[in-house]
């Protein structure tokens, strides 16, 4: 079902974790749909992404695309990071099954959401970036259990 690359990134995900005092944090997805991704960015004064970490609730493809997305943006400038599309993530993973393409879209969105957060904090404008849909966390109903 999954390529070897996907399996590798699922089993040995790169950059799992949090960044304290991150420059930007973005959370996208919806627990109801079974996918939530959160990206932490550490961006230096030159606008270079020094570090990038993620946390993901989701399927194998969700984990692997998150991992690959962090790898692809790390060390890049904001402008370069903006060019990391879902297609780029998929290609880097040697493809995804059709039903899993949305995971790569989610990874792209998560990067954008973290950049948006950074731009908001800094009060800057990033070319081509639009406001992400509001983050959706675990639903409150979860507390019943």
């Amino acid at each position: 079902m999954y390529s070897d690359k996907v399996m590798d990134h699922f089993e040995n995900p790169r950059n799992v974790g949090e960044i304290e005092n991150a420059s930007g944090i973005g959370t996208v997805g919806n627990a109801k749909c079974g996918d939530i991704m959160r990206i932490y960015l550490d961006i230096d004064d030159d606008g270079i992404i020094r570090d990038c970490k993620f946390k993901t609730f989701g399927c194998g493809a969700a984990v692997a695309t998150s991992s690959m997305a962090t790898e692809l943006v790390k060390g890049k400038s904001i402008e370069e990071a903006m060019k990391v599309t879902n297609k780029a993530v998929m290609e880097a993973l040697d493809g995804l099954p059709p039903v899993k393409v949305h995971c790569s879209l989610l990874a792209e969105e998560a990067i954008h959401a973290a950049l948006w957060d950074y731009a908001q904090k800094k009060g800057i404008h990033i070319e081509g970036l639009v406001q992400p849909k509001s983050d959706i966390h675990e639903e409150e109903s979860g507390e019943e259990y």
């Binding site: 109801k32 079974g34 984990v63 507390e143």
Partner: protein, 403 residues
């Protein structure tokens, strides 16, 4: 495949070597058409007749009430569609449960498109049908109640005897999808007032692509597969003789060892339930703790998602499933888990382990260790868990007593 731990016996089972052995002569020696006139066909006909007799006796039924089919789904489709057509004169209303297998639910949807009306009765938080709602739903134009004997996902066993009694009281036909129960539990069609019953061979170590439908004498039933005069004119298609023989042999083994197999499975099941429930925090046992199939374990693990759990288990050689096998690959969480009241994101993180008497305690230990390790790993990767822990640290103390 000795390196595997197979814990998906509700999806399908290994065909018993004895069943395969029994089938072999019917492929290449006694391959004659049972409907034919010559002796080569007669050996096949005799073997099929004996199997029919044997299957009937396991239910307390007559052999003329057993119709062999191509599997559980076909039996379910047949029971519903043919009853709908045969009894349309009486009415066009049917009743079923919200947690049926898709073979029932999708057939109901199909009938709804054809002008029938279906009421879906709710279940409680353990998956047990609400009998009062069932009785309240019965109308003068109700022609069929179809409730599964035991659920394939959470293992809950329904109060079939009570449902049968209600159906009889209101003079409505009663069908039960016993695909998960037949050859696992004792079933008596008369005592339980069952008018029709579906079973599938590969759920009890028989071959795939085999099953049967029990139809009580007197039930007006039409064909579903139209054509030749096989199965007394009720189910067309050249009889799958080896398949029928294999199903029969597997049933024979299952019934003659039912008690010891159940005991063994319950031991394995209870051990898994106990250890997982105790050793993994924030989990929930799905399904009724007591009225439960002897082979079924189903847990939801909060903060993680089922597919990544399954893949990780697979990498450790453990075969399990999340929701029903048929819908894996779909993104919707199981309708059964939603029906027992789980919120979507909890339903996503569920794991079904279904044992067989062939599993060992040592395998259970390896499984528990694997699940523990993986759940922990996935939680450490989960933004939901991160939020939860932080809110705990923040003193909000929510969700602590999750189970």
């Amino acid at each position: 495949m000795g390196e595997f731990i197979y814990l998906d016996n509700a999806a399908t089972t290994k065909t018993a070597p004895e069943a395969v052995e029994a089938m072999l002569p019917y492929f290449t020696d006694f391959y004659g058409n049972p409907s034919s006139i010559y002796s080569l066909g007669a050996s096949a006909r005799k073997a099929v007749a004996e199997t029919r007799e044997q299957i009937a006796s396991t239910l307390g039924a007559k052999s003329s009430e057993i119709y062999f089919t191509g599997g559980g789904s076909e039996s379910d489709n047949w029971a519903l569609v043919a009853t709908a057509e045969a009894y349309a004169g009486k009415g066009k209303h049917m009743i079923t449960s919200a947690i049926e297998h898709h073979a029932i639910l999708h057939t109901c949807q199909y009938l709804e498109q054809r002008g029938y009306e279906v009421t879906y009765i709710d279940v409680d938080e353990n998956g047990i049908l609400k009998l009062d709602e069932l009785e309240a739903a019965i109308r003068p134009d109700t022609i069929l109640i179809s409730v599964m004997f035991a659920n394939n996902e959470i293992g809950t066993i329904q109060p079939i005897r009570e449902i049968g009694a209600l159906a009889r009281k209101h003079n409505v036909l009663f069908h039960t999808d016993a695909v998960q129960a037949y050859a696992h539990l004792p079933i008596r069609v008369d005592e339980m007032n069952i008018d029709m019953l579906s079973a599938s061979g590969h759920k009890f170590h028989g071959p795939k692509g085999t099953g049967f439908l029990y139809i009580r004498t007197g039930v007006k039933i039409r064909s579903f597969l139209h054509g030749g005069q096989q199965e007394r004119g009720r189910r067309a298609g050249t009889e799958n003789v080896p398949g029928i023989i294999g199903l029969g042999r597997a049933a024979q083994l299952a019934f003659s060892h039912m008690e010891e197999r159940s005991r063994k499975e319950e031991e394995l099941r209870d051990y898994l339930m106990e250890r997982i429930g105790k050793e993994i925090p924030y989990c929930r046992l799905n399904g009724d703790a007591r009225r439960r199939l002897s082979n079924n374990v189903n847990f939801s693990f909060r903060f993680i998602e089922g597919e990544s759990l399954l893949i990780s288990l697979d990498r450790k050689g453990i075969c399990a499933s999340s929701g029903s096998a048929c819908t894996s690959g779909s993104l919707d969480p199981s309708h059964v888990l939603l029906a027992i009241g789980l919120p979507h994101e909890i339903a996503h993180g569920s794991l079904r382990l279904t044992v067989s008497w062939e599993n060992t305690m040592e395998e259970m230990d390896r499984t528990v260790e694997a699940v523990k390790e993986i759940v922990e790993r996935l939680r450490n990767m989960s933004p939901l868990y991160e939020d939860f822990i932080k809110s705990e640290e923040g003193g909000k103390k929510r969700g602590k007593n999750y189970v």
